[in-house]
């Protein structure tokens, strides 16, 4: 009786292991501009673009998965790893050990959307549009085009050589962007931001983290911080439109010496203003804590507006 019980348990465990090791291997013809939706709650997923008009998925499914769903018709393809109804998808620390391991190939022109929870994603080469949303996991995106939207809550976002309308968003993670072009928008609540970008329009917002920007040929820059610091080096822009604001954080702007712009800097409640671009100094209001600095360089074609409540602001030159 005891032996039967042990055998039964062993078989049960074995059957679970078999489920855990369920593999997937699909390969189907799709349109070059297919709209592809992928849903995988846990694990690691790599998505690469190919020159064939084929959707391929291979690898192993999540140990807790109840199979998968694959639908493809009329230019729409959907691949979902079916999971039981879980309120909690496990600990972030377990992600290394649990979850799906998938490699997915899509056509270059795909309009891609990925959704996960405890999932890390690596996506490259998609030229249609890409939207990636995860909660606990990192996102790595390379050589994407058109509309690019990458979002996580607790995780890092790495964006490399992307071009288009790029939106990067995290709550607690860090964001690192290099070689981006087009329009770039980065938001982090507690994480830090680092970018080396050639985008013409850049918007950066951080609450507690720091933002370190190295921008080439930017035409329009908006950056804001609550408590964290902003540090922007602007190269090759002679008539930019820049707006920067902080509450108690510091902001530093390094500009071209030959910049042609009107400058308006205001520290509203005890903040400080330091100008190393020209010889003008900030003036303190006769009554109250406000101090301000207004001046123009060149023909005053561009515009630089900086505002703080109680932080410090600094203008520098290369």
């Amino acid at each position: 009786m005891k032996q039967q019980l042990i055998l039964g348990l062993a078989l049960s465990l074995f059957s679970q292991l078999v489920v855990a090791a369920e593999s997937v291997n699909e390969n189907l013809q799709v349109a070059g501009n297919e709209k592809i939706y992928i849903e995988n709650m846990r694990g690691e997923v790599e998505i690469v673009a190919n020159s064939e008009n084929r959707f391929k998925v291979s690898g192993t499914l999540d140990e807790k998965a109840e199979g998968y769903e694959l639908d493809s018709k009329n230019g729409f393809t959907s691949f979902k790893v079916k999971m039981p109804s879980l309120r909690n998808y496990g600990n972030w620390d377990d992600q290394e050990k649990e979850g799906s391991r998938l490699k997915i190939e899509v056509p270059f022109g795909t309009e891609l959307e990925f959704q996960g929870v405890n999932a890390s994603v690596k996506v490259s080469g998609v030229q249609g549009s890409t939207k990636v949303t995860t909660v606990n996991g990192s996102v790595y995106a390379e050589k994407l085009q058109k509309f690019i939207q990458l979002e996580t809550v607790n995780g890092e976002i790495t964006s490399v050589n992307n071009n288009g309308r790029i939106t990067l968003n995290t709550v607690n993670g860090e964001i690192e962007d290099t070689g981006s072009e087009g329009r770039l928008s980065i938001d982090a609540v507690n994480g830090s931001i680092e970018t080396k970008s050639s985008a013409s329009e850049v918007s950066v917002s951080v609450v507690n983290g720091e933002a370190d920007l190295e921008l080439t040929n930017v035409q329009q820059l908006n950056m804001s911080s609550v408590n964290g610091s902003l540090d922007a080096e602007v190269k090759g822009s002679l008539t930019p439109r820049i707006e920067a604001s902080t509450v108690s954080g510091n902001a530093k702007l390094k500009l071209e010496k030959a910049i042609s712009a009107k400058f308006n800097l205001v520290a509203n409640a005890g903040g400080s203003i330091k100008n190393e671009l020209t010889s003008q100094k900030a003036e303190k209001a006769k009554y109250g804590p406000r101090s301000s600095l207004e001046f123009s360089t060149g023909k005053g074609e561009g515009s630089v507006e900086m505002n703080t409540v109680s932080g410090s602001m600094k203008l520098e030159t290369h």
Binding site: N88, V135, N136, V153, N154, V171, D187, V189, S205, V207, N208, S224, V226, N227, S245, V247, S248, V266, N268, A269, G270, G288, P289, R290, E305, N307, V309, S310, G311
Partner: protein, 177 residues
Amino acid sequence: MKTEHELDALIAGLSSELKPSRDLWPELELRLIPAEIKNEEPVPLRPNKWLSVPFAGAYVASAASVLFAVTLFWQPAALQPSAPVQAGLFNPQQVDAQTAIVYSYEQAKAEQLASMKVVDPVYADWQQQLAQWQQAIGQVQLALKYNPNEAMLLKQLRQLYSQQHNYLQKVVQSGLV
């Protein structure tokens, strides 16, 4: 110019010290935040001599937002006109820009908080996050008292509220999944 000179002369004539007519300590003591509440505070913003607003927790902000909306709409029955009250009595265009911003976002926030049921554990510290924005909003509002129509401050106020709104939206949606 005459007014400014007169003001300068009056200021010069003022005593540099002013003693309160009564002992202020008992009232100050009452307003001090208990130590256990202080320990729950998020990372404080950098202190500044002009900005000494006491920390207000997210629950206080939430309560304030509801109170604010209620105050704007509530009228005692005796004061109500005989004609039926029309919706939209509050016209943001008839108040100053700051009030309009605060009103619209606080109302939206009250609605968001009311719709909140379950919060995903990844947003466990949402109240602290909200409190940080609220503290920053408080600092901007205090600066606006010195410079009431400063466009950049108003823009900053709107931006902070907008960030807080977007964050809260994510928190609310996390509980709906």
